[in-house]
Symmetry: C2
Subunit: 325 residues, 2 copies
């Protein structure tokens, strides 16, 4: 079993390859090699029971995808993308990476000829307000960002190349990953992780939106498991509708902070203060909040047990089991 | 007012430029020039009250779109496309013309810098079975053909380029045009026009599907009027959801033939015989049949009055008012 992970240097890519290194297998088959691609040198797990290759390359450049697929990987996790904010400010870069990059990968996979399973990380940004509550599987894609447009186009292309038996694609729309490890960033969604991650690390945090604001979230563990599960899905059971919204939890800021108090105590929870930021409030108001993911659930995808578990996973996986005093 | 019609040599393109020649104006402004583009030499109306230029060029070739837009047209009707059947059998040509061609046009319009109104002829092929009855405006796009995939991607791109104020696009999903003038062709939908057009011209016709089969249709007059109306729509009233299913009539074969008998008499209607063709029945079974086009109706698009009118329009426009004995 030969595996390619594009965007292998990103947070989800690293979580995925660490999980693969622990498992040693995918879809019940021994993993021989994992290739990690990214635009900056990705770092593989030190103790992997398989060969790890790294490739620094830009999939949107002509010919690069063909070179990358010369090993004819059995499974490709396509995670490489320009993120939402950057795709909005750099229109050309967003289209080049998120649309041309996908087309290049699909064409290279077609030429490779082995009909690889491609697991594509799509996004709930394919949806644009106003939304029904919750958003059903057959609600239409009317993105209000260039990022969402590029992901929606990529979903359509993945389904058509799959229908023509050129690749064997599954697209999964990930919820916002929470609690995202690492440092805060400038994404408008950064605070959804920050108001939990920083207090757990002993740092004060500011929440820029009202406590009634809700969001659609899944843990890094769940996101990783979605990718693994998608790699093993029976395509015939999925049928021609190859792109699926992943199960998550629709939680309000109040519910998040109540869970933080239950799991980590008052001292941690009291590190969060509310300082409204109208700019961020405006952006977040246009985001989808709640989904009915019937198809994904019927295909065996599972949400985190509850939001308390999402906090516990972070403490176990990122903090060595210990919350900062 | 400078106008460009891509695919100007096609049936709809010809109907459109004839209508513009009769009107002499568009959106209340005098038309100075119409440029007709196609891959084979298009023929403009002889008596047009404006300059007619013709261009034989392939929009999917690098640089061609920029050359075509050097006049910075105020309105672009983008009708050029590889049709459904050919896009399915020639995968690369379909993507080149129907996706790369659209991207080239959008980029050329962006570089031209005058934010032209682009009226894009999309298709109900963006929808794939199973469908709700009728299909509402917010039903999702899950095409089951490469043609439908290319049109769905083009709709998304048109909306995003419009959102970014690079162009001012309106996409309209045309019903099957019926009665289509001219000769029968090999499209699976050809018989929907053939079972009316041939008897009206004194020729026997065969219907390959059951009389209960329904389809979504509009006359060539209505299709032309949709394009004209789209050219004049107030973008602010349309909002960010820039692609619209056009109103039509959901009629069964039985209803079509009853209308033919009412309008043209028994002798004409008796020229149709039923010879089931399982291949065509299978294809047609996967097509959408009925739409709830609330948004288009609220924006002033109007369906033909009834199916009898659709037949009468054909007799007036194509047969000089006279049905063959």
């Amino acid at each position: 079993m030969d595996i390619l992970i594009t965007g292998g240097g990103g947070m989800i890519g690293r979580k995925l390859v660490e999980r693969l290194a622990r498992d040693g297998t995918l879809n019940g088959r021994k993993i021989d090699r994992v290739t990690l691609q990214d635009v900056v040198e990705p770092v593989g797990p030190a103790d992997a029971p398989f060969a790890v290759e790294t490739r620094v390359t830009d999939l949107s450049a002509p010919g690069e995808a063909d070179t990358l697929l010369e090993n004819t990987p059995d499974v490709i996790f396509h995670l490489a993308a320009v993120v939402s904010g950057e795709a909005e400010t750099d229109f050309d870069k967003g289209y080049r990476v998120n649309l041309t990059g996908v087309l290049n990968l699909l064409e290279a996979a077609r030429r490779a000829g082995n009909v690889p399973r491609i697991v594509f990380a799509s996004s709930i940004a394919v949806y644009g307000a106003p939304f029904p509550e919750p958003i059903p599987d057959d609600f239409f894609h009317q993105p209000l960002t260039s990022y969402g447009t590029q992901k929606a186009c990529a979903e359509l292309l993945l389904a058509d190349y799959t229908r023509k038996s050129l690749v064997d694609g599954i697209g999964i729309r990930l919820p916002t990953v929470c609690i995202r490890p690492g440092k805060p960033n400038k994404a408008a969604s950064s605070f959804f992780s920050g108001i939990l991650r920083e207090p757990l690390a002993g740092v004060d945090a500011v929440c820029p939106v009202d406590e009634t604001v809700r969001h659609w979230v899944a843990s890094p563990r769940a996101a990783t498991q979605f990718l693994i599960h998608a790699a093993g899905l029976d395509g015939d059971k999925v049928g021609p509708r190859r792109n699926l919204s992943m199960p998550g939890h629709c939680v309000s800021i109040r519910e998040m902070l109540d869970a933080l108090r239950r799991v980590a105590g008052d001292k941690v929870a009291d590190r969060v203060t509310f300082v409204p930021d109208d700019f961020i409030r405006g952006i977040v108001a246009g985001w989808p909040q709640n989904f009915a993911t019937d198809r994904a659930l019927s295909l065996g995808f599972e949400a985190d047990p509850d939001f308390d578990s999402i906090i516990r996973y972070h403490i176990e996986d990122e903090l060595g089991g210990k919350v900062a005093d």
